[in-house]
């Protein structure tokens, strides 16, 4: 499948703390609700209701340790999902939010040096099967690291909750190894 959309490109280090700021850490985990103030701490332009979500970006392009700083809150992921983000491409991801992204089926795709070849607003085309990303605005291409089969399986189930619910219902939890 090919997904096309515009991207927002991070300038520097993006922390989980800034994607969801402190007043919202205990809000209900809900994509619509969390999207209202997602990225509020990342850029002053997003620090208003639906400031980021209203931009209509499909992708985020970032450097190392995206969503780092060590916050375990899942609002970071649901907020991005609620804002319409289809994938995040980065040199590397913080492991806590990498887990959360997998558990919610939001593709966190490792891809080197995309920040150097993209600008905010560029139109990207992502081939989910081959992992090839084409910047349709400037013609540059990037090859991302393939997604592990387990990650695809969880995404297909609609997230870890569904994945586990199904196995509890089938009585096959003990077969998970």
């Amino acid at each position: 499948m090919k997904i096309t959309g515009t991207c927002w490109v991070a300038q520097g280090y993006v922390m989980a703390y800034d994607i969801i700021t402190q007043p919202f850490w205990t809000a209900p985990i809900d994509p619509k609700e969390n999207a209202r103030w997602v990225m509020a701490g990342v850029d002053e332009a997003f620090n208003r209701e639906n400031g980021f979500a209203s931009q209509g970006y499909s992708f985020i392009v970032a450097g190392h340790n995206f969503a780092g700083g060590g916050k375990s809150i899942e609002h970071v992921i649901t907020g991005l999902l609620g804002a319409g983000i289809k994938a995040v491409f980065a040199d590397s991801f913080s492991r806590l939010q990498f887990r959360n992204a997998i558990n919610y089926g939001l593709p966190f795709i490792t891809c080197k040096d995309m920040v150097k070849g993209c600008q905010t607003g560029d139109l990207l085309e992502w081939d989910t099967e081959t992992g090839l990303i084409v910047n349709l605005t400037n013609g540059r291409t990037f090859q991302s690291v393939p997604v592990a089969p387990f990650v695809a399986e969880v995404a297909e189930a609609g997230g870890l909750m569904n994945f586990i619910r199904k196995r509890i219902a089938e009585g096959t939890i003990d077969q998970l190894r």
Binding site: H64, G70, S72, R95, L96, N103, G159
Partner: protein, 421 residues
């Protein structure tokens, strides 16, 4: 065939495998799951969303009140009431609430809920602390915690291991925290240590007590690592005696285990170390920041709120008064730490020197409880994070360092090298 690292052995053992290799995704059995007042209600809500009413083992789900106690406002009081109702409804055996509380990670180790050779997870990032006893400690979100509470299982990716071999002797005023910050300055947040298992070893680690080992493993999450671990030895066994009656297996890395990187560190190069405001990897030797004035001093947290930390402060502050322009807040990491520090006279020494002692909790560390930062504050802290706004106001600055540096500096109201006292 190459050998396995301690982290690989723990994952293999708890996933029913003879062998695992880095990059493999496996389901592991979980020894204990920790959740706390701040995210616990969300965790139990997720458990119910799975259609599960009861936790997999009520002795192995550990609940702790640490972020919100005692409640400083109505919102937290109401959250706590709901939290207590939920914990009781699930008949959780080990509930550490106000009066028996402590910071969750301190409680997990101190009360013997993490054991060598096992895997424990928690809904707070500093769960890496459990590596101090040779366990695999991992922070997870509420979904992972709920799945583990329901099933006793969690998925893990086997990390590549990085070995840090630390040589030399500890100067009395150079602490594990200095080494943590030194490594942070060495590695930066450039992706080097992300997802990695960091194994601390070498003669300097063998000399280190459990408090220092907890500090080192605790801060591996801030290096971006998956876990930090120190192989169990006589110090570990002595520490665990009386804290657990369960049998455990003390695993060690094989001599021919494969590491992605091995770094050798000589303690002669590690002096008192400071991370400058807003970036944890903006680390400098104390010489570069000596003399910088500050108005608040803070020692506590899951990183540096233990008896040994309070002891070194008491040694520095005994018979002296801290500078009148400095507000110093000291928060023991648990009730047990509080009591021991009280009996040993450390708290009296600190109070006589002009420090304020607060009830064990996460306190100001995450900027949501006691002692938060206001506009214009310059804080010298022995906590674990210094990003803008971490302790409250975005117009505050946080310098991170060891309890010894905080104590020495508090005497003068400016950053001071404790070795020069």
């Amino acid at each position: 065939m190459p050998g396995m690292t301690i982290t690989e052995k723990i994952i293999a053992r708890n996933s029913g495998r003879k062998r695992v290799v880095p990059g493999e995704l496996v389901w592991v059995n979980i020894h204990t799951v920790m959740t706390m007042d701040y995210l616990g209600a969300q965790t139990f809500a997720k458990l119910h969303e799975l259609g599960v009413e009861n936790v997999f083992d009520r002795d192995r789900v550990i609940c702790v009140s640490d972020h919100l106690v005692p409640p400083p406002n109505e919102k937290f009081a109401t959250m706590l009431n709901e939290w207590r109702r939920i914990v009781r409804a699930h008949h959780i055996t080990h509930f550490y609430d106000l009066g028996n509380q402590g910071i969750a990670h301190q409680i997990m180790v101190e009360k013997g809920h993490v054991l060598p050779g096992t895997i424990s997870i928690g809904t707070d990032s500093h769960a890496n602390t459990y590596g101090a006893v040779g366990a695999l400690g991992n922070a997870v979100g509420v979904t992972d915690a709920a799945v583990a509470m329901a099933t006793g299982k969690c998925w893990l990716r086997v990390p590549e291991s990085v070995k840090l071999v630390v040589h030399g002797e500890w100067h009395p005023y150079v602490m594990a925290k200095d080494l943590s910050l030194y490594v942070m300055g060495m590695m930066h947040w450039n992706g080097h240590l992300i997802y990695k298992a960091i194994e601390y070893t070498g003669e300097a680690i063998s000399q280190l007590g459990m408090a220092g080992r907890m500090t080192l493993c605790n801060m591996t999450v801030d290096l971006g690592a998956k876990n930090g671990i120190i192989a169990p030895d006589a110090i570990t066994r002595r520490y665990l005696r009386g804290r657990t009656s369960e049998k455990y297996t003390a695993l060690q890395s094989d001599p021919n285990a494969e590491y992605e990187q091995v770094y050798e560190i000589d303690l002669r190069q590690v002096g008192p170390t400071v991370a400058r405001p807003h970036r944890l990897d903006d680390v400098v030797p104390i010489e570069e920041v000596e003399g910088i004035p500050f108005n608040k001093a803070f020692v506590g947290t899951c990183t540096n709120g233990r008896v040994e930390d309070l002891e070194i402060m008491a040694r520095i502050l005994r018979g002296k008064r801290i500078h009148p322009d400095v507000n110093m807040l000291v928060v023991p990491a648990s009730q047990a730490v509080y009591l021991e520090a009280m009996k040993k006279g450390y708290l009296a020494t600190l109070v006589e020197a002009g420090a304020a002692i607060d009830t064990p909790s996460c306190a100001a560390c995450a900027g949501i409880h006691t002692g938060v930062a206001g506009d214009g504050d310059v804080i010298l802290s022995a906590g674990n994070r210094n990003m803008q706004g971490r302790m409250g106001s975005k117009k505050a600055e946080i310098y991170l360092t060891s309890p010894a540096v905080v104590a020495a500096s508090a005497l003068f109201g400016k950053i001071t090298d404790p070795r020069k006292l």
